[in-house]
């Protein structure tokens, strides 16, 4: 006899949908706006009928199917992905059509979803004749799926299924008990199903907390088996006694892959055309980023390469300041520590990162470049978890813990210790001299979540960052000494309250407070106080209100209000005299300067997503802003329009046009050192593109764009003559403008068990005109070609191998064709050719990363080697010239730079 075995293990993947926060949908877009808040749960399974002919022929098969589940949990369609023939496909479809699920939830609401699984048809040899099996409780489902046996009988075996390394409780795992063949124990061909018997007899499917219960199992020796598509099969002997119930904990080892296989087809509402979303998995394993989550966006199309690995966001030819950085909807001043340091975010605190190179939605305002939007990760009440990471540069950690059933907290921090060993590298000071160089950066994040159940959800997120540099150089024999202190800090406290409203609408209220400080002081080492100093403090108070959801079957609303109050204080002790004429070289004593500026901005926006037909979606947007800049009103109305047309299941066309407005920087409005008459800057974005998704793994997103910016603020050396004959320096004007155009494409392979990656290419040109009568010329960071290739592969055994290749046009340079000796300064003045008319050599660099993880029951230990510039290529970032501009030498980027680190997760 043969025994037919069905393995339903792959179905367990369904329960992992919650780990795929932004998995891309299929046919219509590469971007997903909704998040799976609860995965579908299999509550009723049906074993397929083994095709008789195949059975007779001894054929076995695996049939991979895609199951469409509607919002009520009913299977509506089953597609065969990998056909096996011989009747297996039809049998698999017939069985899968009988599955019943508890519906998935997207954004807290039941929603349709698509999952994929593999149904195995395996023939096993009949077990030899055995003694009569012990009576086993009937396989009934009187209660929840995580209970087996008659509920009237006492629980004789219970347990919980836990992921090794993280201790995460696993829902949806199939757990079976049976008698092992040849064990000498009583067994049955009907009840005991051998190693593949998970689908028969005493099976349960673990509940939300990974728990399961068996009722009325007779005493004796059994084998317990737990199967899940993403985990190694768990199997071990157990013995159930008469006296007491047995309680077990099953540790399941991940297969080394990741859980993001499920394709989500929820009720997406794509309100923007071009958004590039990265998941946490993609954020921490890109070579050359040191596991830094935010540096990954520099590999996406639309961003030019920043020199020296600096964290500048150079988006479509705009200046770094033109791109807004938002954390949970509130703006922060920077993403990176200074001088090419890491980003300010611990990856564990990050839920997702959206990058909008242009045409962004109405909820983002006050910028005309791009937008980077980070969403922080809600904490979970699933036990105490954490991670730690140490390398040559810094060390950091993360921990989260539940305080009550509804209250949980998470915290993360990092500090550099480069200062500790810098002293061993720098030249030793002379005897009796003192030299201290202390560059220190640190950052911290904390989040508290409170579940208000039907009343919504509340959270508070705190993020802070600090970069400091202290240099003390004192030599009694030297004529000069140095005592320098500089720091850049910021802090944000962001509160968020979300609650459901009538119908499908959701309300979000979010106040935030923050302070940004920049300080510098310089003094002689022996001095009691600074000789010069600068301190800038920005106090920010912001508030956002957002209502989002379905207004009607074909209309989606995203509207809101955001307020921003920014008060800037300047305090400076500087040797300047801004009224004296021609003070070059004059020894001016420093004087105290106190200045300040105020900005109040009110913005209101409305995005309407209208499904005109099943294929055509139009999103008209209107954003209105009112600014009070040092008491002077300015206003802007920015209409935007987005259209998406789904040609078929694989192709989508898209386009947008929109106006974007940005206020001048606070210091440019200063009445003394700036120009309070400055107007708002504007940008017009145009884009047209397509998305092609031949299957759920591969996608291409491509776009051409044109951006025209006008009214740009630029420094001016002009003066105006007043009616009394005196003069006033203009300092800044709105005379500059620029434009950029280009083509962007990304070929992406979604994350699967072993592989993910993308190939991105950007062609762009950016030119600027600084004054109306000046020539158009390339912008500072104009880079026609930027190519990034990223791939990560998990061969198994805990290894992950990754590589990143970058290729980019060199930056434009102004050629130096001669020099003139300036007899009044003793130096040489370069004679230059056309501005930015030549380029540095093409930049190319290969980075690699090897990581090995060891999995223990309660924690994971990993070692990684991240190597920048594996090929040790010499890349020119700039040139330096000799004193009379006859010789030049390249300033090159990083040579080969390996970094070894360790990390632990529990």
């Amino acid at each position: 006899m043969l025994r037919v075995v069905l393995a339903l293990c792959a179905l367990c993947a369904i329960s992992r949908a919650d780990d795929a926060p932004r998995a891309p949908d299929a046919p219509t877009t590469t971007t997903i706006t909704n998040v799976v808040t609860r995965p579908p749960k299999l509550i009723q399974a049906q074993a397929p009928e083994y095709p008789p002919a195949a059975l007779a022929a001894g054929k076995q098969a695996k049939v991979k199917v895609r199951i469409h589940i509607d919002a009520s949990g009913i299977v509506t369609t089953v597609e065969v992905i990998d056909r096996a023939g011989d009747g297996f496909d039809e049998a698999a479809v017939a069985a899968a059509m009988q599955y019943v699920f508890e519906p998935a939830e997207i954004d807290g609401k039941p929603a349709a979803i698509v999952v994929e699984t593999t149904i195995n048809f395996v023939i096993e040899p009949r077990a030899p004749p055995e003694e009569s099996p012990p009576p086993a409780p009937p396989q009934t489902h009187e209660g929840p799926p995580n209970h087996a046996g008659s509920l009237k009988a006492p629980i004789t075996l219970q347990g919980v299924v836990v992921e090794r390394g993280t201790r995460k409780h696993l829902a949806g795992v199939i757990v079976s008990i049976y008698r092992e063949q040849g064990s000498g124990e009583q067994g049955s061909g009907e009840q005991g199903s051998g190693d593949q018997g998970a689908g028969r007899g005493l099976d349960v499917i673990t509940g939300e907390a990974g728990d399961f219960y068996f009722h009325g199992v007779p005493p004796g020796k059994y084998t317990i088996l737990a199967v899940d598509d993403r985990y190694d099969r768990f199997k071990r002997p157990i013995e159930i006694s008469k006296k007491e119930a047995l309680e077990v904990r099953l540790w399941m080892r991940p297969r080394g892959g990741n859980p993001y296989e499920t394709v989500i087809e929820g009720e997406r509402e794509t309100m923007e055309v071009t958004k590039r979303t990265l998941q946490r998995q993609q954020l921490t394993s890109i070579p050359g980023t040191f596991g830094d989550p935010i540096r990954v966006i520099q590999t996406l199309p639309g961003i030019q390469r920043a020199p020296f690995g600096l964290g500048l966001l150079l988006v479509r030819g705009s200046n770094p300041d033109d791109t807004g950085i938002f954390v949970d909807g509130h703006e922060v001043p920077s993403l990176f520590h200074f001088l090419g340091g890491p980003s300010i975010f611990n990856a564990e605190m990050l839920e997702s990162l959206d990058f909008y190179p242009g045409g962004f939605p109405g909820r983002f305002g006050r910028h005309h470049g791009g937008v980077v939007a980070l969403e922080t990760r809600p904490t979970k009440s699933d036990g105490i978890h954490g991670s730690a990471k140490v390398d040559f540069i810094d060390a950091g950690g993360y921990i989260r813990a539940p305080l009550t059933d509804d209250l949980s907290v998470a915290a993360a921090g990092r500090r550099s210790y480069i200062d500790a060993f810098l002293g061993f590298i720098l030249p030793a000071p002379a005897r009796g001299a003192q030299r201290v160089v202390t560059p220190v950066y640190y950052d911290y994040q904390a989040r508290v979540d409170y579940n208000l159940h039907d009343e919504g959800h509340a959270s508070v997120f705190v993020i802070g960052s600090s970069d400091g540099l202290h240099v003390l150089d004192q030599d009694p024999d030297a004529a000069v000494s140095t005592n320098l202190d500089s720091s850049v800090k910021f802090l944000r406290v962001i509160g968020t309250y979300e609650r459901p409203m009538a119908g499908d609408l959701k309300l979000t209220l979010s106040p935030a407070w923050g302070r940004d400080t920049v300080s510098f002081s310089g003094a002689q080492a022996e001095a009691s106080g600074p000789f010069t100093s600068i301190g800038v403090i920005n106090d920010n108070l912001s508030y956002r209100m957002r209502v989002k959801g379905k207004l009607a079957a074909r209309v989606t609303l995203d509207t809101g209000l955001d307020l921003l109050s920014r008060i800037t204080h300047y305090q400076a002790l500087v040797p300047i005299d801004d009224t004296a004429v021609d003070t070059a070289g004059v020894d001016i004593q420093p004087t105290q300067v106190f200045r300040g500026s105020q900005m109040f901005g009110m913005g209101a926006y409305l995005d309407l997503g209208i499904d005109v037909t099943d294929r055509l979606k139009l999103v008209p947007t209107l954003r209105a802003d009112e600014y009070i800049l040092d008491g002077v009103d300015r206003a802007s109305i920015d209409p935007r329009f987005v259209a998406r047309y789904r040609v078929d299941d694989h192709w989508t066309l898209k386009g947008y046009v929109g106006r974007f407005t940005q206020p001048p920087q606070p210091e440019a409005l200063d009445r003394r050192f700036g120009n309070p008459k400055l107007e708002l800057e504007h940008g017009m974005h145009y884009g047209l593109g397509y998305e092609w998704r031949p299957d759920h793994l591969w996608s291409i997103d491509s776009e051409i764009y044109y951006v025209a910016r006008s009214n740009l603020v630029i420094f001016s050396d002009e003066v105006t003559q007043n009616s009394d004959g005196t003069y006033t320096y203009v300092n800044f004007t709105n005379e500059a403008r620029n434009y950029s155009y280009g083509f962007e494409a990304i070929l992406k392979r979604e994350i699967t068990e072993h592989l993910y990656g993308w190939l991105s290419y950007t062609y762009s040109r950016a030119r600027e005109q600084r004054h109306p009568d000046s020539d158009w010329r390339p912008t500072t960071f104009d880079q026609p070609h930027v190519l990034n290739a990223v791939a990560s592969y998990k061969p198994g055994a805990g290894f992950e191998l990754g590589a990143r290749f970058q290729l980019a046009s060199g930056r434009p340079e102004t050629p130096v064709i001669g020099a003139t000796y300036d007899a009044d300064t003793g130096g040489y003045v370069p004679v230059t050719g056309a501005v930015r008319s030549v380029r540095d050599p093409t930049f190319y660099q290969l980075d690699a990363r090897v990581e090995r993880d060891w999995l223990f029951d309660r924690w994971t230990f990993g070692v990684y080697l991240d190597v920048i510039n594996v090929l040790n290529t010499t890349n020119v970032e700039a040139y330096q010239y000799d004193y009379r501009y006859r010789q030049r030498a390249p300033i090159t980027s990083f040579p080969i730079l390996p970094t070894l680190g360790v990390k632990g997760t529990w």
Partner: protein, 323 residues
């Protein structure tokens, strides 16, 4: 780690020492007077104002070490552009051109030109005034550009130097024209001996008859300290754009140029840095290695003294190195 790499690449590149003259080079240019005050209280008529201007002489100190050759020169009057050269689409005038003997002889042949208060100057200063957003409140700048090359050399290899001059309106009324700074002397000392063995150093060229030279040995370090004459740092008044005035005291900077060896700094003096340090006046000279010498060698030391108001003067001293 990236910081370390950045530090590592920051200092890359080995260039010629800017303090050592190795070929044709303009070391200094001096105008006399460097600045003139014109009275604008009675008239603004350009012709009338020009009558207040006196001729100014501009001279250049040139060295052409390693070459024995005559030089081709050209002096051009203009309002120099951002590259300190004359824009040939704007008013300019060639003041003089020709051939001058090898400058490395004693006494060096004069290489000077004179800017006469004529129509050429009027055209240039008018152009300068038209491009000045302050309408000359901070002075009307003009300059002379010296183009220099070997008499038979490719003109593409010519070098250029520019000296600015200024006409100042008498705003405020008590404004005084600048005078070129001077140097009283030079002191040589052991840098490690705190001036206990300081000795005066003659200001004369190496080839001058009876020249006094500072005797040193290879790699010997000598601290050279200028001696400022009293009153060299003039106090002056400058107008402000809001109708007022400011009073400042000049800073004096010293540029050091040598024929061989090395200097701790090519410039000394000047104002305070951002940390409040008043820059020292001295520089430390280190004689060349013995292996680099073929025998006793005279090393010229040129000192260019400048204030921040276009005033300048040059001096020469001599160091004799004996292996």
């Amino acid at each position: 780690m990236k910081w370390l790499a950045l530090l590592a690449v920051a200092g890359c590149g080995t260039f010629e020492d800017p303090n050592v003259v190795i070929d044709l080079r303009v070391i200094a240019m001096v105008a006399e007077p460097p600045e003139q005050v014109i009275d604008v209280s009675m008239t603004t008529d350009p012709i009338a104002l020009l009558q207040q201007v006196v001729p100014a002489q501009v001279c250049a100190l040139v060295s052409d070490r390693d070459f024995d050759r005559d030089l081709r020169f050209r002096w051009t009057l203009c309002a120099p552009g951002t590259d300190d050269r004359c824009d040939l689409s704007a008013p300019y005038a060639v003041l003089d051109s020709g051939i001058t003997p090898d400058p490395d002889q004693d006494p060096p042949p004069p290489l000077c030109t004179t800017i006469a208060p004529n129509g050429n100057l009027l055209g240039v200063v008018t152009d300068s005034l038209n491009n000045d957003p302050l309408n000359g409140l901070g002075g009307i700048y003009y300059g002379v550009v010296l183009q220099l090359g070997g008499a038979d050399a490719d003109p593409a290899l010519d070098i250029y130097a520019e000296k600015a001059l200024r006409l100042m309106p008498n705003i405020p009324a008590d404004i005084q024209a600048n005078h070129n700074p001077t140097l009283a002397g030079l002191v040589a000392s052991d840098p490690d001996a705190a001036m206990t063995n300081a000795q005066p150093m003659a200001l004369n060229a190496c080839d001058a008859p009876g020249a006094q030279k500072l005797e040193v040995t290879p790699r010997q370090k000598v601290r050279l300290t200028p001696i400022e004459p009293a009153g060299v740092r003039e106090t002056y008044v400058t107008p402000t754009i809001d109708g007022g005035e400011r009073t400042f005291t000049e800073t004096i900077t010293y540029q050091w140029v040598i024929g061989d060896g090395t200097l701790s700094s090519g410039t000394s003096g000047g104002g305070r840095d951002a940390f409040g340090n008043l820059a020292p006046l001295f520089t430390d000279f280190t004689a060349p290695y013995a292996a680099d010498l073929t025998g006793p060698e005279n090393i010229p030391v040129w000192i260019v003294v400048r204030d921040e108001r276009l005033g300048a003067a040059w001096y020469e001293a001599c160091i004799h190195v004996t292996p």
